[in-house]
Subunit: 598 residues, 2 copies
């Protein structure tokens, strides 16, 4: 078992030195969150991670949940963790004090979640889902729903879930068939099937509260007829919890994330499943998407957390494992070298560091915009809203896709040991593979970015994004050692703009399929540019600090600069190949007949 | 469960249309292998794959081997498969008729192995290891060792293994500590530990024959003191099999390839483990490397086989799964489209097809060179030997690295279902992750390519390689529709040469660490160029055939051309970024201090 899973010095660097998160405390709403409170918060999260989450990471994988006689049994400590998260106020942390929350800035909450997920992403999923679903009720639910459900969820006693997917409706939510029939008492009778419902049932939850999409009978077809319901496992009736006819029909076997079961749920087999409408009828998808945007950024953070944990396990091994000798001195009588001494191993470590820390900064940037939106007014608010909207699909997709490669590099540094389960590396690799899939696959994010977010408000989001990046470039251009990187980022940004112009031209003149055909490559390129931007931002801070730093602090800043250099030397150049393809007029993937793919 | 795992039409295309394998029958040694026999051979392999291998692919993963009371229990059908492979003559197929083999050309044997591994790579590993180790005894062992072991191994009754790795010696074999002390009777007493020994023991093998590296006491240090021994689980003594003190100390848990156990073996705990020297003392590594080169190409083939199986499962799903609607017609009343209709899905399928079929052709190219070397004389023989040597690390590394991405794309096309074990995709992804590790990691292959194979014989290998590629380019340049691809491949080859010159210059003037620092990128680039070459080769054949083809045949050739176009449009451009880095004078990974990586 590895000893570490996050770099707390780096987390403080991001929060304080890059984003100056303590500045939020100047706003009355966030007044409590001084630098000291921020540090205390992440230290508390780290202690929870160390004490409760991390020790059972591999155990939860090996003793995976099982369904027997209708009961899903999960690891015993899930109860302990949910209680601790409830008692510590973590589940309701983003809510206002008035609503029983901590008014915690999203920037800080993201950092805490980074710690929890790096320590044990399956375990952290339980409370993360509860946070998201209790927030939905709080935001859109009636007073009665709030009073009935939210306190139990925020305490961790009742589990919350997001119940969207059905056997025939995954990416295409408009095609769900779960039905809701109005009853005289204002409730609805629910009937249908849901699959892949994370934490959808388990023995140690007092109740499970599904935030479920369903269609009210007689409503509009497609996405315009989707409504959101609270569908509990047990419904409160006359002060008692009564079985609500939600049956756990199956637990899916899966590659990873085994500590948190995904359920097949069957509602209304005995015609006795009741649901409570959240908000207005037929507006369910827009409610869900408010939550979904946050969830997408969370997936980016979870992916980054797994990169971090794998990186630290890999780094530890490379610092301890002697193997072979330098090519310039292969004398077998000389003791073997530590593998961290080899350039190829250092390359694999710098890759992981560049991805982990670059993505952490980028996802934090999104949380920062979200907080700024919350505390701003007027044009300022609109600006942050647009930036956040634009960056959300990138923050979901790039870290998740790269986490597969980054954890794979971590596996590789261990050689055969990386493939074996005496080390956690193979589990990180398996666990993170879900991230490019759930909360909208990479393909879906790509359509969202290029098809919706880029054209929104006449391209204002992209202009604001370019302005943010140009500001960083301008600052870096004044620092001798960063000049070349600044120029290269400027070129990449210019190319991104050129590609966007070309594609928007196609959007005017051709069917939407044409300009969207390579949306996934567009998204990947936007990811590379975004992370390069974050690295330049971090590089400016590190370059200013490194001169006067000593000892571990000097090593820290030098490491920052090395990882920045890695990204600019090894990753940014990949942008060119993507743009070359994006500028091509060859329509291969559109025009190839499906019969040719054999 | 998917229905198909290989495209037999494509296998015949590669064997007959690209490599004209029937031409080998003009040579007396391979006279039996007419076109008909070749087809019959792969059809027989396919039938074995269908009947014995494929049906238990997922079952072998789920009911994984376990060690109890010193006995390793594996899937019952392993016995059935080994018997069938022995009876069918598959284990000794590459050996001469005189030696009890089939004199099968390596080109054809590779194709058969492609089928077996695509059907069930864990199951196929058992006999593949036996083939390799019985071949070692046959080639280098005494008459007595041959008579004692080879017939039992070729029949499949006795399992063969390669026992190289130790807890403190993986990539660095010179550091093994397993010792061999000569006895008066000519045998050696063996003492030591081996780890990660595939198929190293199981209940249904009558005996296990380890081809084991050990050091004779008092011999030279390092790699020059490594000898090769036959160390059986049971040693034949007076017509009986006697326990040889090789203890199964543990079975490693691992990410995939679960159907075939990897063992921790302990030899000589009771000072009663005997070994028999193979060939001369201290020459073990060179013997092992004769086998190892073949094994490395096999890993390339196994990786390709997993790409193939995952591709077919993915393709099947995409042809059956309705989800969503075209962006230009989202009317929810219209039935959902099959996902294969979407450009992004077609892109992921073409990627898999381009990797699978490109790598299959490339690995077959290596087997072809191996056969040509065998049947040639003089300068011709030398030419094929150099080409084979040069391409071996590329054939091991590129398919294995790309198989992780290709099976990952297969997972992605299924969305959430790809992550679940109701479908085999997640298993293909897990299974193939070992391929970039064993038989020498990608980093080791990179050092081999750039540090040994490129400089060998004053760069003759590279010149021959360039000549082969230029021949294909010249032919393609005469076909209008292939002209641009030919030009782009020529440019990439020119760039590869430029990079090589630059690095060889560094090799003259600097420490070897300097020119080798980015060897892995050099290897990746050589992989991209090699596969582009194969695609152009296949493109020439397909372009000539497509005009007169009809129906399925037309679709087949059009598919070939589409996958070729995919590789040239989406993959070849990646070469530029690699070369940019390789031409840079920045020595980041060499110069970064390990303290900075934190």
């Amino acid at each position: 078992m590895a000893k570490e899973y996050v770099n707390m010095r780096n987390l403080r660097f991001v929060l304080h030195e890059v984003f100056a998160a303590e500045n939020f405390s100047k706003n009355p709403y966030y007044a409590d969150y001084t630098k000291e409170v921020i540090d205390m918060t992440i230290d508390t999260a780290k202690k929870l991670g160390d004490d409760l989450f991390f020790p059972i990471y591999t155990e939860m994988d090996k003793k995976k949940p099982h369904l027997e006689n209708g009961v899903v049994t999960v690891h015993d400590d899930v109860r302990k963790i949910m209680d601790a998260m409830g008692e510590g106020g973590w589940i309701a942390a983003p809510a206002s004090a008035e609503e029983g929350g901590q008014q915690m800035p999203g920037t800080l909450y993201a950092a805490a979640n980074f710690i929890f997920h790096a320590a044990n992403t399956s375990a952290a999923s339980y409370f993360g889902l509860t946070t998201g679903s209790s927030d939905l009720i709080r935001t859109f639910g009636s007073k009665e729903l709030n009073e009935t459900y939210v306190p139990h969820m925020d305490s961790g006693k009742w589990q919350g879930t997001m119940a969207l997917t059905e056997p025939d409706a995954g990416s295409s939510l408009g095609d769900i068939t779960t039905s809701a029939e109005p009853n005289a008492d204002g409730t609805y009778t629910i009937k249908g099937q849901k699959i892949f419902i994370s934490a959808g049932d388990y023995h140690s939850a007092e109740n499970v509260v599904h935030l479920m999409l369903a269609k009210i009978k007689g409503g509009p077809v497609g996405v315009k007829g989707i409504s959101l319901f609270v569908v509990p496992k047990y419904r409160p009736e006359n002060g008692k919890l009564v079985n609500n006819d939600v049956i756990s029909a199956g637990v899916f076997g899966k590659m990873g994330m085994k500590g948190c079961p995904i359920l097949h749920l069957s509602m209304g087999e005995a015609d006795n499943c009741k649901g409570w409408l959240v908000g207005e009828p037929h507006k369910g998808l827009s409610y869900m998407f408010k939550m979904m945007n946050g969830a997408r950024i969370s997936v980016g953070m979870m992916s980054t957390a797994l990169c971090s944990a794998a990186y630290h396990a890999s780094l530890e091994y490379c610092n301890e494992r002697p193997q072979g000798r330098p090519v310039s001195n292969k004398d077998p009588l000389v003791p073997q070298s530590l593998i961290i001494e080899y350039a190829d191993v250092k390359r694999m470590l710098l890759f992981q560091k560049a991805i982990t820390e670059g993505c952490l900064s980028f996802v934090t940037q999104c949380a920062y915009y979200s907080d700024m939106e919350k505390i701003s007014e007027g044009a300022e608010k609109e600006k942050y809203n647009l930036l956040l909207n634009l960056l959300t699909p990138i923050a979901k997709a790039y870290p998740s896709e790269m986490s597969v490669l980054s954890t794979s590099a971590a596996v590789q540094t261990l050689g055969g040991a990386g493939y074996c389960d005496d080390f956690p590396l193979e589990q990180y690799f398996r666990d993170t593979r879900i991230n490019p899939i759930y909360e909208g696959t990479t393909g879906i994010q790509a359509m969202d970015l290029l098809g919706r977010k880029i054209p929104m408000k006449m391209g204002q989001g992209l202009m604001l994004y370019a302005a943010e990046i140009n500001q960083t470039i301008a600052e870096a251009a004044g620092i001798e050692s960063l000049k070349t990187h600044a120029e290269n980022l400027a070129k990449a940004m210019q190319k991104l703009t050129e590609v966007t112009m070309k594609l928007m031209g196609l959007a005017q003149s051709q069917a939407p399929e044409v300009f969207l055909a390579d949306a996934t490559l567009f998204l990947e390129n936007a990811g590379i540019v975004s992370i390069a931007w974050q690295w330049l931002k971090m590089g400016i801070v590190a370059q200013k600090a490194v001169g006067t730093a000593n000892g571990d602090e000097k090593n820290f800043y030098e490491g920052k600069l090395a990882a920045m250099n890695y990204f600019f030397l090894y990753e940014l150049p990949k942008s060119a190949a993507l743009c070359e393809r994006l500028l091509s007029d060859n329509r291969l993937t559109l025009e190839v007949k499906k019969e040719y793919i054999n």
